[in-house]
């Protein structure tokens, strides 16, 4: 089987096409996604390939988009809905927080809601405070939905396939600053497993849990820490916030004795806090020192490039923080 180099952007098209080919019930809707191929050009060609009944442009009506996806899902389809920027989840948040997520429970299992909401998450593209947010925690905190955030093209395809096939609703955070990232992707069908973290670099001195754009930055930091500071970092790509692979994280901390998290979401109630609290409870006796979270500060994001770069955790900031914490 061959291997191709694909961008994260191209991986979106490939993933959706793979699933639409497999299952007639998979349909796709969103603003400017069909004829125009999406504002991030991440869905180019789907309309041509699957036609106007399966790939549909909508009005600027995010509530209608998610409501329609929900109604279709609960009566038999497998919709993928795009919310263009993750920040816009706020205009349709009722569907995330109160409708889609609670349907199965409130109906005592009479109804299911198998759908995927894919959305452009994260910063680094100088779009300012209303188009750059990392909102994983907005979705992680809601019971009844699953939450995924891939950091590479191959993960994107595999996790998207898993999300589309999953019988539960899944929020799929694509990172805007990763769309141009390239990675190797094998030919043929790719299906991954939700709820699995991945150790991308083994290490013995400390564990760093990261997500999405923070993963390549953490890997970069780990190299510098090893090379320049003699610190051997174990890097975990969390990948799936719900279900959360706590075993991989707890296992790593049992080995290294130290935990850092690197989050792009602003500090308060981030996913890092959740992981920190699990570790501070269940792995307390494994810990050799404080758990340290590295996050975007608790501020709206500035537009200016140098300010945005200061706000979002960088490889340098990770190196600096880990070094200072571990070497005193």
């Amino acid at each position: 089987m061959g291997v191709a180099e694909l961008t994260y952007r191209d991986a979106v098209v490939r993933a959706i096409a793979q699933e639409m080919e497999r299952d007639e019930r998979v349909v796709f809707l969103g603003e400017d996604v069909a004829k125009a191929g999406g504002v991030f050009k991440a869905t180019v060609g789907l309309y041509e390939k699957f036609g106007p009944l399966r790939v549909r442009d909508t009005p600027i009506s995010e509530q209608a988009i998610l409501g329609a996806a929900m109604g279709a899902a609960m009566t038999g389809l497998r919709p993928i809905a795009e919310i263009m920027f993750a920040d816009f989840l706020a205009v349709c948040f009722d569907y995330v927080a109160n409708e889609i997520s609670k349907l199965r429970y409130m109906s005592n299992g009479q109804l299911s809601c198998p759908l995927v909401i894919r959305t452009g998450n994260g910063g680094g593209v100088r779009f300012g405070a209303q188009h750059s947010q990392s909102v994983e925690n907005w979705t992680m905190m809601i019971p009844g939905i699953k939450v995924v955030a891939p950091s590479s093209p191959v993960d994107l395809i595999g996790l998207m396939a898993a999300a589309v096939r999953d019988p539960d609703p899944v929020i799929f955070h694509e990172h805007k600053a990763l769309y141009a990232m390239k990675g190797e992707v094998p030919d043929g069908e790719i299906v991954d497993t939700l709820g699995t973290a991945r150790i991308l670099r083994a290490g013995s001195d400390c564990t760093i849990a990261a997500l999405a754009l923070m993963v390549p930055r953490t890997l970069e930091a780990a190299e510098v820490l090893a090379r320049d500071h003699g610190i051997d970092v174990e890097v975990i790509d969390v990948r799936s916030l719900v279900p959360l692979d706590t075993q991989t994280i707890l296992g790593s901390v049992a080995k290294t004795g130290r935990l850092f998290t690197v989050e792009e979401n602003p500090r308060l109630c981030g996913w890092g806090a959740e992981i920190a609290s699990i570790v501070a409870d269940e792995a307390f006796w494994d810990l050799d020192g404080p758990i340290v979270r590295i996050t975007t500060p608790h501020i709206p994001l500035p537009a200016a490039d140098h300010l945005e770069d200061l706000a979002i955790p960088s490889a340098e900031r990770i190196v600096d923080k880990v070094r200072r914490v571990l070497n005193g």
Partner: protein, 343 residues
């Protein structure tokens, strides 16, 4: 809808009009059953056997009945917290409904959802929603599925006058119109949101109908207290949707006889308003209609007695039902049946 009366005895008095005697009796029976159930729910409040809140449809039965009789098997209902009537109208059992209000194991969702979220998929009730306006887009999605798969069912979405002022109403109506979806939006205009008269907070007289043109739809306002009128309108809208004619928006003028919810004595009404509407009680109207059409008083009384009997039996069954087992707390958060968000 089981016991068909002996229509022969009424002889020529029975006009064989578009509604027809069988459906007329069904319309009457449904209204009576809904009324009796709602009155029983009220009694059960007073006996403190219903916890939480509850929203009755007393006075609005003709809408639920008219649509319930017009809808076909497979058609899907999307209701609000004021959804007891619509749930019964699709054939769900009284004990399922009352049991859910009483939060017992016998309830439609075994007490997990409560009175505001009545759901009975086997009867086509695809949920009752308690966030104003949320279910209008959801009904669009169900209709989209029908359109895409070529299934011929229609999705019907019930809501109140106050709901027309929230954003989701607007998004859903435009979406349904642009995609030409087989969905019928039914606004029960009972003149009030919770306690505030709809006219105080709405820029037009008819909160739904006066907005139909915004979505390229026909303006439809009907007497929501006359089950025949509702039935005919429902049938036309359903047929249109089924034949790929797209959505309809129907405004039914009606009135709730009781307060908004259990907690509400409805003191905000102007004096005399309730009395005026009681004269137009849909069940009184319909009972008279049946008589005019030659249905014997005995037939009518039998329906009424049967309804009371069913409500008694349902009440007894509900009272005898235990609460759901504690394990239910942790079931059906996710499709694997459980609640685990971690390994």
């Amino acid at each position: 809808m089981s016991s068909r009366p002996d229509t022969a005895v009424h002889g020529e008095q029975l006009r064989n009009d578009d509604v027809g005697i069988e459906r007329r009796l069904a319309l009457f029976r449904l209204q009576v059953e809904i009324r009796d159930c709602e009155k029983r729910a009220f009694d059960l409040f007073l006996q403190n056997m219903i916890k939480g809140t509850s929203h009755l449809s007393i006075g609005q039965e003709a809408v639920a009945a008219g649509f319930g009789v017009a809808m076909q098997r497979g058609d899907k209902s999307f209701c609000t917290y004021r959804g007891h009537a619509h749930t019964l109208a699709r054939g769900a059992s009284m004990e399922g409904m009352l049991g859910e209000l009483m939060l017992r194991d016998i309830g439609l969702m075994r007490g997990k959802g409560g009175s505001m979220h009545l759901t009975s998929v086997e009867h086509g009730v695809f949920g009752s929603y308690a966030i104003i306006g949320a279910h209008l887009p959801i009904a669009c999605g169900s209709a989209w599925r029908a359109q895409y798969l070529g299934e011929k069912d229609v999705s019907v979405c019930f809501f109140g006058d106050g709901t027309t002022n929230i954003g989701a109403f607007h998004e859903a109506l435009n979406f349904a119109a642009v995609w030409k979806l087989p969905v019928v939006f039914v606004c029960e205009n009972n003149l009030y949101m919770e306690y505030t008269p709809i006219g105080d907070v709405t820029a037009v007289k008819h909160p739904a109908a006066d907005r139909a043109a915004s979505y390229g739809l026909e303006r439809i306002v009907i007497d929501g207290n006359d089950a025949d009128v509702v039935f005919r309108t429902a049938q036309a809208a359903l047929e249109k949707a089924r034949e790929d004619g797209g959505p309809s928006l129907v405004e039914c003028l009606t009135y709730r006889h009781s307060g908004h919810s259990r907690a509400d004595p409805a003191k905000y009404r102007p004096p005399g308003e309730l009395e005026e509407w009681l004269k137009r009680d849909p069940i009184v109207i319909y009972r008279q209609r049946l008589a005019e059409f030659g249905v014997a008083e005995d037939t009518i009384k039998a329906i009424e007695a049967e309804s009371r009997r069913k409500v008694e039996m349902a009440t007894a069954a509900c009272k005898a039902s235990p609460s759901a087992p504690a394990e239910l707390l942790a079931t059906d958060v996710y499709a694997d049946g459980g609640w685990a968000w971690r390994n």
